[in-house]
Subunit: 191 residues, 2 copies
């Protein structure tokens, strides 16, 4: 059996909430033939960045997260803006703005849907090597960050012990681990 | 520097959308002293399930996802209902309803925030061993699933090649991989 996307009937924008919209799509289930009213959270695409220093540390950021009301250990990242020429360019920008770090050979490591059940966007993971702190940070008014350099070797245990609280950060770290093992080739920079 | 949660001022429910609500929280940034209006998507907690068969396959499900408008290869899972006595019980129920499989030694493998920036909920990953198909599936009206048995050894390459599209599924598979390597102990069943 091969499953097919559900037939689209109509869509309606319900609300705008500055960083996301909520719409309702009417689609037909191929199994039952019935129409379903499906809520979709429309978000811009996101990016996050695995930034590696010359001494094999990952540039991480601690930040307060209002959804969970907790401080989380994450990697730099954010929304891909209309001004960003690509997901890679957005990742390089977010890394610089949030931490002041810049490196070489920035390229795409992976991409995933944050939640394909109810959200329409993609999160791109960028990898940047040989990163050094050479800029002043430029935080948004709502940002309050603390940079942490975490040895690459410590990452698996941090994830295993549930010290990584953001699912998209855990996914990026998994992509990084697969890349270290040679399973995940990345395109050449500027390819 | 240690970051602290932001001081809570007030909250307001903005909209209900059946499977999630949107609220607005007013909080004060400790860095700037300014009030911020923060949107939070309130969701019930979710669960997903790593179900392993005696011949070392993982019970996966293909399903249509309306957010991305794609068919995704995932693991069983869903919302934790008020009737579920625990995340583990919810996982066992979802596994049975979606695939007909049941196993032994169901226990918690990990937990993570799907998106602590804008969502308030937790996703729990349950592991169940020695799984066999012994029930008839019980799909919700909106469900249309196809069970796939995937060899455990194939998982890393599936993730590396971006064949796993749902971030919470990739996180669960990362927890499973760490558990296989002995890094992620799970509590005893019924502990």
């Amino acid at each position: 059996m091969t499953l097919k996307p559900w037939k689209f009937i109509s869509t309606k924008l319900l609300n705008k909430f500055r960083i996301f919209n909520v719409r309702s799509d009417i689609r037909v289930s191929p199994r039952t033939g019935h129409e379903h009213d499906l809520f979709v959270i429309e978000c811009p695409d996101w990016c996050n960045v695995i930034a590696i220093t010359p001494d094999q540390k990952i540039v991480m950021v601690e930040q307060y997260r209002p959804g969970s009301d907790t401080v989380e250990l994450e990697i730099p990242g954010g929304m891909i803006d209309a001004e960003d020429s690509s997901p890679v360019a957005a990742g390089v920008r977010e890394l610089r703005e949030e931490t002041g770090y810049e490196g070489r050979d920035a390229r795409l490591l992976g991409e995933i849907f944050p939640n394909p059940a109810i959200m329409n966007n993609t999160c791109y993971t960028i990898i940047v090597e040989d990163c050094r702190c050479i800029h002043t940070v430029e935080w948004d008014t709502g940002e309050d960050l603390s940079t942490r350099l975490v040895p690459v070797a410590d990452i698996p245990l941090l994830v295993a012990e549930n010290k990584i609280g953001h699912s998209l950060v855990a996914v990026a770290l998994y992509y990084f681990e697969l890349w270290q093992r040679g399973l995940k080739p990345t395109p050449k920079p500027n390819a």
